[in-house]
Amino acid sequence: MAYSTKVLDHYNNPRNVGSFEKDDPLVGTGVVGAPECGDVMKLQIKVNPLTGLIEDAKFKTFGCGSAIASSSLATEWIKGKSIDQALEIRNTEIVEELALPPVKVHCSVLAEDAIKAAIHNYQEKQANQPAEASAN
């Protein structure tokens, strides 16, 4: 089955490839994988502490075209969103947007998991902050 033009577009011009400093307290990192196909995906968010919005996002994915496109799209979508809004993104929306065939649905699941893992990591970091740093 051929990739859709949207998948090809993200694959050929992936948005937001790269990484942030993992130890930055404002950065949340999610690394997820699908053992059955060997894909690995890293997605990072950078949160603006004043607005609480995700001001930037980066990803790095080693996997098939659909996995790359799914994570590329995910970073595009979460930029500018609040944490809560980003958590609402469902893999089915990614499937729809990219017209993924059934065999590639797991790539969109991976992207959703990566968003959640990155947010979880960010929230954990915030919870572990010394008291004076989080009081503002």
Binding site: V31, V32, G33, P35, G38, V40, F62
Partner: protein
Amino acid sequence: MDFFQLLAVPKGFGVDLTLLEANFLAASRRCHPDFVGADSQEVLLQSAMVNKAYTTLKDPLGRGEYLLRLEGGSTGESSRVVDPFVLEEIMEARGELDQNPTGGTRKNLLEMTANRMKNHQEQLLNRFRKLEFLQGLAKADTLAEIRQTLNGLRYYQNLFRDLFQGA
């Protein structure tokens, strides 16, 4: 009859590969049309089964998955839990390979990956052995550990294959 019985090797992760191969050859011979005389449907099915048993048990990952299923553990599709350390390392290794696909990097990564595969297989051996003495929750925990180890092993085996193919 399970694959271990079919090839007359003791059920367990630590299979004697020499014995496995010898028994496979003997079993194939027993159901080979030239020896049996007729290629009946039954013989054909048996031959296919013997082949499947051999390819499954020969490969550590296939053997582990099969054994886990016999023990009532979950299959690969239903549990994708992987040690975060493994994912990080795979991520890093693939990144390194992308940036520098030359012989030196590849050789180092091949060595690292081979070590990890060996290490995972040792863990599987110990955990499967432990399993027979466990019950209830303790058994479920170990089954989950095995599931995670198998998922990790799959990553390293895939990486190894990719490193090898490009070498």
